[in-house]
Symmetry: C2
Subunit: 594 residues, 2 copies
């Protein structure tokens, strides 16, 4: 697929330091600055009064008269001052002679984080005072004139150890947080990544960048879209969850190779992470059809019951008895399930009485099914399908953490491992009413061509042409081949899903007017940027993120609106009772991006 073709080189090309751990990246100021000073910015200083940026000066500039603007990062003994702009840091020498008293006064009295403009000469630092960890560490600026452009009031916190601040404080003073080298790096890298994507799509492959509206009609399937009241009584726009209908209409309109960096609005309430659990599990139910182990017997006697196992390669070397105990404890506490560790050599069973009930035949069958090597550990559990998968997924990550603390390198953060997930079911039974079907992805996804015949007999067996892309274990995107046949779309919407097709009549009509076969993919840019930068939260790769509860902590949005401003939109607030208010506090919106 062509996605890998650009994402791979793109990621490799982004000067991502190899072999680092995410913690190091977030901490290391000077390396960030090395990275950013390598960036080639021709003509950068055109149109501005500064002659240079703070980060670019080197020994090759010695003797030059320069004018710099920046924030006062640090001051020592009223002699040295470190000036910062987005491009880096530079040391400035405050003049001490009588004739420069006014310059000294400005530079010594301005509070930290004030904005100043200085002019002076680039000189070399005295021998022994060079700072090799600072890109501009060989030089300093002998200042002649200085101007205070804007003073800074007392800061709500010290800038330098910003990462130690609470996230709420960081969001409230976002404009200060954005000055940190880490946020500068993340946001500037994001801009570069998006630009590289555009260059690849537009310049190399003739894609066309088209903006689609954000004020649209609500799509069927529930209350996940923000509503926007219009000036017509009772009429509302909605903010689309994604441009999915527009994408299709553009294909029908012949706008081949469309792309867009689009915003998606999802009022998701209590669904903070849509990411499903991905596990490599092996179903071993058949091995244990006849077993004396009670919890396996119990689980497998139920209709949805499965026995499943994961293999921890070379687990014997690193996972000790107390680790196994804590894994078992975790499974019992969190999932109310039992976990049985199995070893290739019977001698390693740590005297578990239950484990001895695994027969030699069963052990051999497991070895065959799971391709177990001598030093591996198998973790076996049983129960309801979904719960079992969830538990083993968690255990797999726990074991990986454990092995990494013992020095094994399992997940190199500098490695980008892509995985396509395919063959999803087209429909799933509705949770609240399992005899009815709902779309596993969305109702526009095309069925797998080999499964078309099931559509009219056993629709639950139909696989979809939906695909997800996973990077280093995180879902970063997904897409599908869409239905281009109006009759098929009508059948799926009306007959199988019992949806109100009137809301989608424009789409059905469009399919009927020569819609070409088409499909696409959407990447989650926020999550992708998290993986590339090693940021712990998508809030670290977004300039002005909302809090988990959907609040803008800086401006305190959402906010009350006077009644007279609601009047043109023909709405009024229905104030909830106290009991209702309590219930509602569980449902909080937030805005997503893809």
């Amino acid at each position: 697929m062509h996605l890998g073709a650009w994402l791979g080189p793109l990621c490799r090309g982004l000067r991502r330091p190899v072999g680092r751990t995410p913690q190091l990246v977030r901490g290391s100021l000077s390396r960030r600055l090395v990275l950013s000073s390598r960036r080639r910015i021709p003509e950068f200083n055109s149109f501005v009064s500064r002659t240079n940026t703070c980060g670019e000066l080197r020994s090759s500039h010695l003797g030059q008269e320069v004018t710099l603007c920046g924030w006062i990062q640090y001051r020592r003994q009223n002699i040295f001052l470190v000036l910062r702009d987005f491009h880096g840091l530079v040391q400035v020498i405050i003049p001490q002679d009588e004739s420069s008293a006014s310059v000294k006064k400005i530079l010594c009295e301005a509070p930290l984080e004030s904005v100043v403009k200085v002019s002076g000469t680039v000189i070399s630092r005295p021998p022994g005072q060079e700072n090799p960890t600072m890109p501009t560490g060989e030089i300093e600026i002998k200042v002649k004139t200085a101007e205070l452009l804007n003073a800074c009031k007392k800061l709500p916190f010290e800038m330098k150890d910003f990462v130690k601040k609470t996230e709420a404080l960081r969001l409230q003073y976002r404009y200060l947080d954005l000055r940190s080298s880490q946020m500068q790096y993340n946001l500037r890298l994001r801009s570069e990544v998006v630009m590289k994507m555009r260059e690849y799509l537009c310049n190399l492959h003739g894609f066309v960048d088209i903006e689609t509206p954000t004020l649209f009609k609500r799509t069927p399937g529930g209350a996940k879209e923000f509503l926007v009241p219009s000036r017509e009584p009772g009429k509302f726009y909605s903010l689309p969850q994604s441009p999915q209908q527009f994408k299709q209409l553009l294909m029908v309109g012949g706008l081949d190779r469309y792309f867009q960096v689009a915003r998606c609005y999802r009022d998701e309430g209590s669904k903070p992470d849509r990411q499903p659990e991905f596990t490599q599990i092996v179903d071993v139910s058949s091995v244990f059809r006849k077993t004396e182990i009670r919890f396996l017997q119990d689980a497998l006697s139920k209709p949805q019951g499965k026995a499943k196992a994961i293999c921890v390669p070379e687990g014997v070397k690193h996972i000790k008895r107390k680790d196994i105990e804590s894994i078992k404890q975790f499974a019992a506490d969190q999932f109310n399930q039992e976990v049985l560790p199995i070893f290739l050599k019977a001698s390693r069973n740590w005297n578990s009485p239950v484990a001895k009930l695994v027969t030699e035949d069963q052990r051999l069958e497991l070895i065959r099914l799971m391709e177990i090597q001598e030093e591996d550990i198998v973790l076996l559990t049983a129960g309801e399908h979904k719960k079992t998968c969830s538990l083993l997924g968690k255990l797999r990550l726990q074991c990986a953490d454990l092995l990494e603390t013992k020095g094994m390198v399992l997940r190199d953060p500098a490695q980008f491992s892509f995985l396509w997930v395919v063959d999803f079911p087209l429909f799933l039974p509705k949770e609240e009413s399992p005899t009815e079907l709902e779309s596993a992805h969305h109702p526009f996804t095309a069925p797998h061509p080999s499964d078309l015949h099931f559509l009219y007999t056993e629709p639950e067996k139909v696989r979809s042409q939906h695909y997800d892309l996973v990077l280093n274990g995180s879902e970063i995107g997904g897409g599908s081949i869409r239905i281009h046949d109006a009759q098929l779309q009508q059948y799926i919407l009306a007959t199988l899903l019992k949806e109100d097709v009137k809301l989608l009549s424009h789409l059905l009509q469009a399919l009927d007017h020569g819609a070409p076969p088409h499909g696409g993919i959407a990447l989650g840019l926020d999550r992708l940027m998290c993986l590339i930068t090693g940021a712990p939260s998508i809030r670290d790769v977004i300039a002005f993120p909302k809090s988990f509860r959907g609040h803008d902590l800086m401006s305190s949005a959402p906010d009350s609106v006077p009644v007279e401003e609601l009047r043109p939109y023909h709405i009024q607030v229905s104030w909830p009772t106290e009991a209702e208010a309590e219930k509602d506090s569980l449902n909080q919106p937030h805005q997503q991006k893809s």
Copy 2:
């Protein structure tokens, strides 16, 4: 200013045909296709089953086996078929021999605008049947196999003369309208223009592309922002009119050289065009302080009364007596004002008794003030300042139209003439209450440094650091240097404008924490694209525009929403009375972009 630096070469570089009229551009299919086939798209046919696009085949492809996909544009005598994709047109020969009966059946029975895939050989057209107006006119495709990918139902109109359709029909079937070569050209050109802007800003000048939120807090100053109810009772987000606060906060955050292709949401009701009238007028009140001409006397006796004039160069040659009569009629009908034409030579006054009342001294003073040449006509009017400007602006355009019908080339559409408008007032008297002030632009615009002293004494005299950019007479952008001093901002907001500063406390706080001096500009992309493509309406350069009344005619948004979907947002509809409904129908929203 650097704007001209990139916009100029950009516009010149866009392969805009020189000397054409807008009408020609919109009509000429084949030239559009020539333009688009010149576009360099390497590797275009990677990842798809077609081997070529319809528009790219030439004599150099003779003998090649190709697979094409496209829409059936046209069919003649069941022998020829013209296939279209976004890249152009190609002629396909329907096989007539018995063995190809099934291929013939597919190609002859498929309705026009159906999607087909054909494979065959590129052959040359028989001598004399080449079509030199068609880029692929030397060749045709001898088809071997054909597949109907999707049939098209009866079309609501014939595709070929789409431009004759009503705009409502075009918007309702937007996916068909988008297939027209004109819309394909406009939208693909728009994508290229935006890409060139990005390359200039990001790659050449180190700008950083940052997306700012669209769910924000309402800004003070009225009901022009769409509201988005949240799940918290009585709390609303608003869709920002522009990212203006975020722009400033990014500057405070040290994200130097920020740009964004942003959406602006303005619920502007009955304000369809914010474009002010720009006229080059000369104020000639002083010349006529003492005059016997009654309408000048009347006008100048009032406090806001002005006498103003425009000069029509070489007007005598082309503007006849009946033209002058129709100009006078227009002024009387539309503006209830008199217009007096004045000629350098008294003999050309067409015996107007009023014109004879212009004294020789006045005539000479006019000549000096307005630099009149012998063959020019001066059009003079008097009255209230704004009305006079408006009338003369209209007359200026009318005269230009008139002169152009006589063969003079005044406004070459292939020429891009830029104009900066500066020295706007910072404040204007409020229309409803002229003793109070309101911002002429917005309250964040910085005062002109030379006028700072007036701020505390005669604020209405302060000029602003606001600037507008005009291209060929249309405003395409504007911006300002912003206030970076918190005290000054507070004074203007609270003391002069009497705004509630609580709504902006986050901004005032940000300015107090080391905000650098900053400014910027925003271009209206829709209007700019209109000027570049010669499109008559911004709806021709937007993929899915709203109608003038803010409706999406394709999906019929905005739409009703069931009561239960309003409940999570704690709102209910207040249905208006019949009288209120009538009044409201005058206020219609629409969505803008910049």
